[in-house]
């Protein structure tokens, strides 16, 4: 199993390494001598990324009263770390091209991802967490392992999807049965090789078994519950037809009242379209 997983990732040239720009951004963020203008310059060098980021920060989701026109402005208003997280989350989309759309359309896949990201950020906000963007990003890329499966094993993936749909089984369990591991393990292995923050990696790795998360139980529980919400309202789909089961005790870890659900669903209804439009343009 270990061999196959590594083989899958290594044979996938386009995604085995993150675009250079992210290394340049994270280097600058961690360099105390780098100024905000330096970081702004690095991001602005990539016109696609710049357009996407400005669309996101100007969306109704952020609701700033006036238009944010430049990356430097965005850095000041949103924060360096947060904008870099957003840059990462929104640009992963560009890495996956040429995936057969007869399995799952990319529109539907990213819609599910964005819904999960916004749901995760909303739950974290109710918990008064800081740095909400990392929750958005973790939710946004939680199912990324599925894209590798769809691209590299489209034949097997198609059989798996059809089998689960007709027998009413859960897809992540179908994956474990058919290939020995699931998309969460695969995705987190990929993200770890990209040196993403450990909190995001762990949340992705254990979003179907959150009690296994030893270092970042809250991040993982938030993504687990956000994924359940996104599947329940069927806002896009990453291939799964059913609501994944809630792991025992995980809702309780979050310490939230069920009365937040109604407004969370309203919030999703208002913002998912807008955010999808901002992020998916020119992918």
């Amino acid at each position: 199993m270990g061999y196959r997983l590594r083989e899958l990732l290594e044979s996938y040239d386009e995604i085995s390494s993150l675009p250079m720009i992210f290394y340049r951004i994270s280097e600058a963020v961690n360099d105390p001598r780098a100024s905000m203008a330096d970081i702004g310059k690095i991001i602005s060098d990539d016109p696609g990324l710049t357009v996407r980021l400005l669309r996101v920060v100007n969306s109704a989701f952020y609701g700033f009263p006036s238009k944010i026109g430049t990356i430097t402005q965005a850095l000041v208003i949103i924060g360096t770390r947060q904008l870099c997280d957003l840059a990462l989350g929104t640009s992963v989309i560009t890495l996956f091209k040429g995936i057969p759309e007869d399995l799952v359309t990319m529109e539907s896949f990213w819609r599910h991802s964005i819904t999960c990201g916004i749901a995760a950020e909303t739950l974290a906000a109710y918990r008064r967490e800081t740095n909400l963007e990392r929750f958005f990003v973790a939710g946004m890329i939680h199912d990324i392992g599925r894209l590798v499966i769809y691209k590299k094993m489209s034949q097997e993936a198609q059989e798996m999807l059809l089998r689960c749909k007709s027998s009413g089984a859960l897809l992540f369990l179908g994956e474990r049965e058919a290939i020995g591991f699931d998309h969460a393990t695969l995705g987190s292995t990929l993200l770890r090789s990209w040196n993403l923050p450990p909190g995001i990696v762990e949340a992705v790795a254990f979003h179907h078994q959150p009690r296994e998360a030893k270092h970042y139980p809250i991040e993982t529980a938030v993504v687990h519950v956000a994924d359940i919400i996104a599947n329940a309202i069927q806002s896009g789909s990453s291939g799964e037809c059913f609501v994944p089961p809630l792991d025992e005790g995980v809702w309780e870890i979050l310490g939230l009242s069920t009365s937040i659900l109604s407004s969370t669903l309203d919030h999703l209804e208002r913002h998912v379209n807008d955010m999808a439009h901002s992020i998916l343009i020119e992918r």
Binding site: V225, I229, F242, P244, W251, T258, S259, L265
Partner: protein, 110 residues
């Protein structure tokens, strides 16, 4: 008394318990009659529920579903049950999520 969602609270209802924001500020006192203006303030403060005098949560929820055309309600329930087939509907979080999804499906069907 009963703890109900903010969306089900109407002006004129009486509070059973103080409403306290996450940072410990008392927004409204027990015994107070809720006004339309109060509801707006609670929404801004991110309050999602309140304990109301003489209210039964189940009763309010039943009233809401009773307003739906029974044929649409049945179709929405069947569909929601299918999507939720792997979950434990007895868990309070799943129960509330199921109810909201079912109401949304019914709304989209009618």
């Amino acid at each position: 008394m009963g703890v109900i969602n903010l969306e089900d609270i109407e002006s004129g209802m009486i509070l059973c318990r103080d409403i306290i924001s996450k940072n410990g500020l008392v927004l409204l006192k027990a015994g107070q009659e809720i006004t339309e203006k109060n509801l707006g303030i609670l929404r801004i403060w991110g309050i999602t529920e309140a304990d109301i005098k003489g209210i039964d949560k189940e009763e309010i929820l039943d009233k809401k579903t009773a307003e739906i055309d029974p044929r649409i309600l049945e179709e929405a329930t069947t569909k929601a049950r299918e999507i939720f087939r792997h979950t434990d509907l007895g868990h309070p979080f799943i129960k509330e999520l199921f109810r909201l999804v079912m109401l949304r499906l019914a709304r989209d069907l009618s």
